[in-house]
Symmetry: C2
Subunit: 246 residues, 2 copies
Amino acid sequence: MMQQTPADSPTFSPLYRQIKGLILQALENREWGPGEVIPSEIELASRFNVSQGTVRKAIDEMAAENLLVRRQGKGTFVASHSDPRAFYRFLRLVPIAGGSEQARSVPLECWRAKAGPEAGRVLGIKAGDPIIIVRRLLEFSNKPVVVDEIYLPGEIFAGLTLEVLKESQVSLYSLFEAKFGVRMIRAEERLRAIAADRTSAELLHVPEGSPLLSVERTSFTYGDRPVEWRRGLYSTETHCYLNELS
Amino acid sequence: MMQQTPADSPTFSPLYRQIKGLILQALENREWGPGEVIPSEIELASRFNVSQGTVRKAIDEMAAENLLVRRQGKGTFVASHSDPRAFYRFLRLVPIAGGSEQARSVPLECWRAKAGPEAGRVLGIKAGDPIIIVRRLLEFSNKPVVVDEIYLPGEIFAGLTLEVLKESQVSLYSLFEAKFGVRMIRAEERLRAIAADRTSAELLHVPEGSPLLSVERTSFTYGDRPVEWRRGLYSTETHCYLNELS
DNA sequence: GAGTGGTCTAGACCACTGC
DNA sequence: CAGTGGTCTAGACCACTCG
């Protein structure tokens, strides 16, 4: 039997949540990498000295949070952005006319800088710490729809260059996961409408001053540590941002 | 024991999903109204001739979908928009500066019309069928931030007038639920950036042509039947649309 | 067939609410 | 105190995958 916190303790949490915490810890420690199988429920149950049902409930929650993926008959896997089903997990853009063309990422620039006060605050680093800034286009049917400016902590993403970005034909997060060991698990987006500045207008082939959707995203990895800040400007003539409320 | 579909049948679904379907059906039939307790898990188990655990799993899913609300020690309740915790369930707007002032809904107009082809398609009614159109403002700290135009099927919302709207100090959905027996359980929003037309600009106190966030929402009730279509124009100078991705 | 996750059951006990 | 949902267990069996 595992140690159960007394019920009247202020830090009380049910057993299955403690198990969840232990599995989470193992994930952070990279005991099993993205895309790999984790031990079976029975193995984990014996490892943690609890019943299979308790492990099951812990895994249920983690699967609901997209941290793990269950596949009947095969096992439970660490979620990965390299899984085709997760490529566009965070992309809410859909064509207005219907259908669904392929998105293509076109890296434009990648340079080093020092974090200003805002980037520092958002990324949880000190102002003046090194950061890497990436600018890229997102195209649908070879037409530019989004221009992104992405701010990354230099310490974590050391070695990231335009060439690396251009080589990788998959999603950015899949690259981050494979090359830098950083897995994004959650993000917050703040949307506003703004007028296109000159450079964005040129990149997106729209008139200067036309309305654009501004999407500021902060992405988090394990432990709710922010590891990416990006601002996207979306041209919403042919595509729109689709959100499900429930 | 309840009837279990044979495993090799194409319509196979686990017992707990069938129970879920039966509870859902009872909700649609208004066996228990919004805000009311449903029978205890043990009662439902004996009613459906299954174990408590199976009822439990059905209710778990429905609670995750915001159809039911569990309260330990008290019972399980039908979710309601009249519950203060659900007032702003579908409103993603937050002040950029932080804090959180009270929102206020200001009904402006309410008139009858016939559905055009688009409204008919979205609402699942025939073009020419009666609809009701509501225009209203959403204010924060007495400053207009959103102007909404709301399209409702006339048949369901017969009796809705500007006076009725003005009387109700609560959320629209809470009114719809209480007066018309229509509970919104899910919605889709499509966001774009557009330039302010003259009337919207005046209502929102912004210059004509300035960028606004256009939010088109279709709301659904039980059985995924669409029962509301609305378009909101958001001024995003002081507020932004916040979205959690996971 | 062996191993995985998925379902279902039954029973014990805990935590919370309200009388 | 009785009644509710919440947790934990143990065991049986089903469904899926792969060798």
